[in-house]
């Protein structure tokens, strides 16, 4: 196994852990975005450019954006109460 793949695998393990440990959802969004980026790089190293493109578009852009919008909607509802 090449060192690059091993390093990215370990980095993925770490960034997944960070997503779980970021208990404040607003901070978690950034961890999630980072996790998506790391996964995308890992997929690139695993010779899967199609999957990497998909993961980077979805994992680093769309999903975190949906999370942010959700948190904003929740904050608005809390402000009303």
């Amino acid at each position: 196994m090449t060192g690059l793949v091993a390093a990215l695998l370990l980095l993925t393990a770490l960034s997944g852990l960070l997503v779980v440990l970021a208990r404040d959802p607003r901070r978690q969004v950034f961890a999630l975005s980072g996790n998506g980026l790391v996964l995308g790089l890992l997929f690139l190293a695993l010779q899967a450019p199609d999957v990497a493109l998909s993961e980077i578009a979805v994992g680093t852009a769309i999903t975190p954006l949906l999370f942010l919008a959700t948190l904003a909607a929740i904050a608005m509802d809390r402000a009303k109460r």
């Binding site: 997944g16 779980v20 959802p25 996790n35 199609d50 999903t63 809390r78």
Partner: protein
Amino acid sequence: MSALSLLDALPWLVAVWLFAVGLYGIATSRHCVHLVGCLTVCQSATYVLLLGIGYVRGAGPPVFYDHPPGTPAVDPVVQALVLTDIVVGAAVSALLLALAIQVQKRRGTLDPQALRPLRPPPSSLE
């Protein structure tokens, strides 16, 4: 077991680790949105596993644009499986987030420890 075989098993162990960590997060989460984030971690475990299964040492991507057909390439099947699943996974996360927004509007809380269907919240007990 030798250190070498453990290194060969690294992707599988990382996949298990991601699933276990995500499960731990779901079990202990105190915020529904955080819980959805943990669920995506569990899902990424399956991607790592599948792409690891298809990886061939020293081979290129299964796209024969720059290399002619016949050059060693990794398994395209697992990549196709993962590719579609990523898109669907995002849509399911969106569904869960929409549920979370509505739960917040109806209940005013997003603590999974307080969400129990058919059991009225303590305040409204007769």
